[in-house]
Symmetry: C2
Subunit: 416 residues, 2 copies
């Protein structure tokens, strides 16, 4: 029998306890032995919970109990979670977590310590909720050199964008609806500003390219500036707007970015709606493989945590005891050095002059028109592919023309 302690009895932690109980029989069969939750560490009491007998407030009950071999860390954040994770390793206990913040910030050190202590540090649930993606990257696609990753990695923002597109709600209304449905937190900054997606693409990239990709170095732009008007233009381009996280191996550096992007309706992730996530992995043998499912939620995320627990009990080291090396230089390409296409909307007081000026500045562009009179004083266009830094300079120079009042929107256009 394998004894597990769960640290943090919140949404995911209680889900883990529930899944281990609910699917006890089949889990035991797959693991080869029974897996039992022996202790739940939380500062709170849960007098109404069926698991109240297991709750303890004393960390020693977990860390000093040699019969507990696996610790599930579902506390979140980098403070006490990090402290307990280290303490577990030093006591010879494996740790399974859903804590993307901790893995993205301190993955290299924690993985190194785990290796030194001869234990596993597994974090399938930290990306894509229930969607199997870290194990596939480590194992199923092990025969491939990973060339690139494209994903919708944040359910909250995808829900908001879906509400805007489908229901015609503006950003604030859509955010409110996400909060009412429990898909967004009271303070939604981490989601809507793109930081959550950024941590996730950093983790996936670190695995895929086998070197630590620091989320701090990744250009990150949220969806707070996206308007219904932008969506009308996207529709006119037979496209949709998604918050895309992308990364690519480019020589010995890595390109990574989180930003809203206009993508064709034929793009494999264009139809991924609501709180669903999807991740496309491009490998040099397999081509494109896509993984799709619920990116968050109690039971889906618990399902991923428990899969890691089962692997440990079966002595499967799904990480290959990898340790991400921190480079002593910034291995992420400067966003200004990357290439992209911009969709740009400007308000004009003289459309003909503005069009001529735009052509003069950007050369060959594709103009986009929507059949809506509200936009008749606007010019919208898509640039050719160019270095982002150059496009930004050109965009900034647009206001020099007397015919152009303002730049309203700038959104990247992503090809398949």
């Amino acid at each position: 029998m394998a004894n597990v302690a769960v640290l943090g009895y919140g949404v995911v932690g209680s889900g883990v306890v529930e899944v281990l109980k609910e699917n006890c029989m089949s889990i035991s069969r797959k693991a080869g032995e029974e897996i039992k939750v022996k202790k739940i560490l939380d500062i709170r009491d849960f007098p109404e919970s069926p698991d109240r007998e297991l709750i303890t407030h004393n960390p020693d009950d977990v860390f000093e109990d040699d019969s507990i071999s696996i610790v599930v860390e579902t506390i979140g954040g980098v403070g006490v979670a990090q402290e307990y994770t280290k303490r577990a390793f030093l006591k010879g206990k494996h740790v399974v977590t859903s804590n993307k913040e901790l893995v993205a910030a301190h993955g290299p050190e924690l993985m190194k310590l785990a290796k030194e202590c001869g234990v596993n540090y597994l974090f399938e649930a930290s990306v894509g909720g229930g969607i199997p993606i870290i194990r596939p990257l480590n194992q199923c696609l092990a025969a491939n050199e990973i060339v690139g990753i494209t994903g919708i990695l944040n359910g909250t923002t995808n829900y908001i964008l879906t509400q805007m597109k489908r229901e015609g709600k503006d950003f604030d209304e859509a955010l409110k609806s996400a909060q009412q449905n429990g898909y967004a937190e009271a303070n939604p900054a981490a989601d809507i500003e793109g930081h959550d997606a950024c941590r996730k693409i950093a983790i996936l990239s670190s695995i895929a390219y086998n070197e630590f990709v620091d989320s701090k170095n990744i250009y990150t732009e949220g969806i707070t500036n996206i308007t219904l008007a932008d969506m009308e233009y996207a529709e006119a381009m037979n496209s949709v707007i998604k918050l895309l996280a992308v990364s690519k191996k480019v020589g010995d550096k890595i390109f990574a970015r989180v930003s809203p992007a206009i993508i064709s309706k034929n793009h494999p992730v264009a139809n991924v709606e609501d709180v669903f996530n999807a991740i496309i992995v491009k490998g040099n043998a397999i081509g494109d493989a896509m993984f799709y499912g619920k990116g968050a939620g109690k039971l889906p995320t618990a399902s991923a945590v428990v899969a890691d627990v089962i692997d440990i009990v079966r002595h499967i080291d799904s990480n290959g005891r990898n340790v991400w090396k921190r480079k002593d230089y910034n291995n992420v390409i400067d966003i200004n050095e990357s290439t992209t296409r911009f969709f740009i909307r400007v308000s004009a007081n003289n459309n003909e002059e503005a069009v001529n000026y735009i052509k003069q500045v950007f050369g060959d562009v594709e103009f986009v028109k929507v059949a809506n009179d509200s936009y008749k004083d606007e010019i919208a266009f898509v640039t050719a592919k160019a270095k982002e830094g150059d496009l930004v300079s050109k965009k900034d120079s647009l206001k020099a023309s007397a015919s152009i009042n303002d730049v309203i929107s700038v959104i990247r256009v992503e090809e398949e």
Copy 2:
């Protein structure tokens, strides 16, 4: 160093050798040691091949060589492939295969023998080509009770249906185009009659429900009767026609079926086109997870084979040494006892009478109309959900009406 022998230097076999060479560095890192192809067994000579030095015609060079620990069986079929697989087990060698025919027919016995010999029998590449699906079922979704599987499991038929829908080719033209592009064999029966998809859903179901599901017991219908007219009707229903393989746990029995199905354009697999495959797994914790990618092809399939080889070298037993038990009764539900909805097209000589007769026989139905004069002597409708056997009897009784000349098409309608 781990030595591998490849049996059968065809498309997949040569792909395996290529991937192991091409990605040698990263594979060695992930496996923890170098993986080398020591011998290739084939009855043919390949004087032009860069691997010609490794080719042998003598099985003893493989089976009597104790330095070879892993055998890749890419011969196909159930004859010599089965004989060599057993011989490898008895010699203490692990076997990795892409041979769905052999696994579907003799999986239980081969897995049992492998277990007795203390070796692995892995077959990720037998379903979904390069798409990771067997390992996810065994490991990533191990915390779940699997409730059901829905998939597009055959690339050839999906290509044909896509060509029909997109290019307006009829079945014969589309098949010819598939053959010209190397997506269909000269004798395409196994694909277009649904047998290939049937073997694959049998393998997936055996894993998901942990008991052998014999492909012989699964109702299987191919796509040879699907016409462009059927597709026009599907379009009028805002739907598409796909060859779907489905299975579901129903009490202590299993429902499984391969057949063309009309599915809404909102169905997650509706947009899966060309030779791509997609598999939706429904688990009781994760909900729906979808896996998508190239279902066939040299390098994608080789990628899956090599992932299994790497797992063996890393001592990861991805199968959990499961042995599928053969039930001493038919554990697959009789198709006539399953419930479904039928789309039925009839030719009529008196539309009003025919409509009345159809209502009399089937009760509440939804009539489907297409804006095409060619079909004005037809009545098309979708039945309510009912036992398939009852629907078939009712369908057969349609011809009793003098107003109905013939039943033209019967296609199942699948809900999400």
